[in-house]
């Protein structure tokens, strides 16, 4: 087994007296989709916020390609190749697909910040990258606000990859979408997986989705890892059991019947 692209060792995060994460170990490998599962409040978002530089850990270490790293800001994480795609953050609805794709990293000739935009070149790259990942934007000048939720998610993913992300973090990318668009995002994830050199961390509450695409699972409950393994090593029953925070389905059924 090769070295993990990104890993966390005994990661702890406290918000004042509250321990959100307590000694988390996580290993993510390239070319794999790693599902991060757990109940509401388990600490999934807190964990990926540490991976993407938004929060700093209280203790424990982060390693990229085996080397210890310290992210002071999201910028540091981006520079280290960690691309985070949030559902709402990071797209500008009134601006064109191309301007969104290159936002903050525009191609220009001349002196920054008054350099003249190389619009034609950026349009071509945007079109090519979007097509590669499975969306044919007929007009790169189209405003992002007119795109569907799935297309926007895909745009954000294509952008992160084009600008060198080797770890892609997707926090509930399908939660606000309709059935068909959820599938679109899952397809996008599988295409990215097929590149072979990019790792994807996928947070979801949807058991079916996680089983459809994930190669490896990590389960969190109350800020601790309660189970992990590859798809092959985990039985379907285990996954359901662990997703519910370690409570057996049979118990839940009893509880429901008792009401």
């Amino acid at each position: 087994m090769s070295e993990p692209v990104i890993s966390a060792k005994s990661l702890t995060k406290r918000f004042g007296a509250f321990t959100a994460l307590n000694g988390i170990d996580l290993e993510v490998y390239k070319g794999e989709i790693h599902a991060l599962l757990g109940d509401n409040g388990a600490g999934k978002s807190t964990l990926i916020k540490i991976l993407s530089g938004v929060h700093q850990p209280t203790s424990g270490g982060l390693f990229v390609d085996g080397k210890p790293v310290l992210f002071q800001s999201p910028r540091d994480a981006t520079n280290a190749g960690i691309g985070t795609v949030y559902q709402d953050l990071a797209l500008n609805p009134l601006m064109s697909v191309t301007r969104n794709f290159f936002m903050g990293r525009e191609l220009y000739t001349g002196v920054r910040p008054f350099g003249v935009l190389r619009m034609k070149e950026m349009d071509e790259i945007t079109h090519a990258e979007m097509t590669k990942i499975g969306i044919n934007v007929s007009d790169p000048a189209q405003a992002v606000g007119t795109m569907s939720g799935g297309q926007r998610q895909t745009l954000a993913i294509a952008r992160a990859i084009y600008f060198g992300a080797k770890v892609l973090i997707l926090d509930e990318p399908t939660s606000a979408l309709g059935q068909k668009q959820q599938m679109e995002v899952l397809k996008t994830m599988m295409r990215v997986r097929a590149y072979g050199n990019i790792a994807i961390i996928f947070i979801t509450h949807n058991e079916v989705h996680s089983k459809l695409v994930a190669d490896r699972f990590t389960f969190l409950a109350l800020g601790e890892v309660i189970g992990k393994g590859t798809k092959a090593s985990l039985a379907s029953e285990d996954i359901r059991h662990l997703m519910a925070g370690g409570v057996a389905m049979a118990d839940l059924e009893h509880e429901l019947a008792a009401i």
Partner: protein, 380 residues
């Protein structure tokens, strides 16, 4: 059953891309953000031409109209860029008063700290340093405090107006300065602001047989110099906004600031720079006024901030930021300038009509803009 199958098949043949109908050039033009402003402008031009029996567009009428159009245009350009970035500046009018006070007091009483008499150039540049510093401070406070720019600049509206009056009284004993030498005759720098431009235009008009006064000589010799400032400022603003990197940043800052920041757009620098730009525009406005009339008083620029915002909105700029057009602002400035000046050409009306018009047009423009935004964002 077979019917169900055929209907289920159709979606597979259609792709997302095929749902976006490619529009023709004309259709695109009609849907462009400045279209509303253009139509309003054409209606106003025709109405005023008829009501004034053509006098609004005779040589002198044209000069006077363009003079006020350029005034409006200069400050509205700055206000528009700032609004696209999602902020307001209510201090523009007071900044005009402050800049006029600063320049005329220096010209009359000499440079500060006993540095000797002022020239138009030194008075202008020292004033510009002051106003840019104010603009920077306003921007810095907005960015750091995270307060709405509406409130911060409202406080500067009062503060700068009061400061202007205090300075006038303290240094000059009176809240106005008049009787300065006619600098534009002798000083090239002053004539850049207060002098005339486009002589060739009126010369050509005279050569072609028009532009003749009652004595049979050439009537009007040129437009006010501020027309050049307006055109140059608008041209640069258009280019920067549409074609350069910083233009993309201005749109991004106003559209979704947090997303722009997350993508590495320096949103704070963009906003501070634009507050300095509106201060710059106010200073140009004041310099044109001072060197044209050789006077200043404490009330100069009153209400100009609201007119600048109104023109920007009529020109298609969204109140919520992220969207706007310099071309639209030029149309808006022409509209407002013509109507503000109409009292001089149409005997039956007075200044009240101008305000009635502004009120009505503003409301209509906001409705229009809202529909534009819905069309572009698909109703989000």
């Amino acid at each position: 059953m077979s019917e169900v199958l055929t209907t289920a098949k159709t979606p597979a043949l259609r792709t997302e891309a095929s749902r976006l109908v490619q529009r023709g050039r004309l259709a695109k033009l009609i849907r462009s953000p400045e279209m509303g402003a253009f139509v309003v402008m054409m209606v106003v031009i025709i109405a005023i031409a008829i009501a004034s029996k053509g006098n609004a567009f005779n040589p002198l009428g044209l000069k006077n109209n363009l003079s006020i159009i350029a005034q409006f245009g200069i400050i509205a350009t700055g206000a528009c860029l700032l609004m696209i970035a999602g902020e307001f500046d209510l201090s523009i009018g007071s900044m005009i008063g402050f800049a006029g006070m600063s320049m005329t007091l220096m010209l009359k009483w000499g440079l500060p700290f006993g540095l000797g008499p002022a020239t138009p150039m030194s008075a202008f540049f020292i004033t510009l340093i002051f106003t840019l510093a104010w603009g920077w401070l306003i921007g810095f406070i907005v960015v750091r405090s995270k307060l709405s720019s509406f409130i911060v600049t409202l406080s500067f509206l009062f503060f700068l107006r009061g400061l202007t009056e205090v300075c006038f009284r303290f240094i000059n004993q009176s809240t106005q300065v008049s009787g300065l030498p006619n600098y534009k005759e002798s000083d090239w720098f002053a004539s850049m602001f207060g002098g005339e431009s486009f002589h060739w235009f009126y010369n050509l008009w005279y050569t072609l047989g028009g532009n003749v006064n009652q004595l049979g000589n050439q009537w009007v010799t040129g437009f006010d110099a501020r027309v050049v400032w307006w055109l140059v400022l608008s041209g640069i603003a258009y280019f920067v906004l549409m074609k350069t990197q910083v233009g993309s940043w201005i749109f991004a800052t106003g559209d979704n600031r947090e997303s722009a920041r997350a993508n590495g757009v320096p949103v704070d620098k963009v906003r501070i720079s634009l507050f300095m730009l509106t201060a710059f525009c106010a200073t140009i406005f004041a310099a044109c006024q001072v060197f044209d009339t050789n006077t200043a008083d404490a009330a100069k620029g009153n209400l100009k901030e609201l007119e600048a915002i109104a023109i920007a909105v009529v020109g298609g700029t969204l109140m919520t930021g992220g969207f706007g057009s310099i071309l639209g602002v030029m149309f808006g400035a022409i509209t407002f300038g013509l109507v503000a000046n109409a009292v001089f050409f149409i005997p039956a009306i007075d200044g009240s009509y101008y305000r009635v018009f502004v009120g009505v047009v503003l409301l209509v423009a906001v409705f229009l803009n809202e529909s534009v935004r819905k069309r572009i964002t698909g109703g989000i």
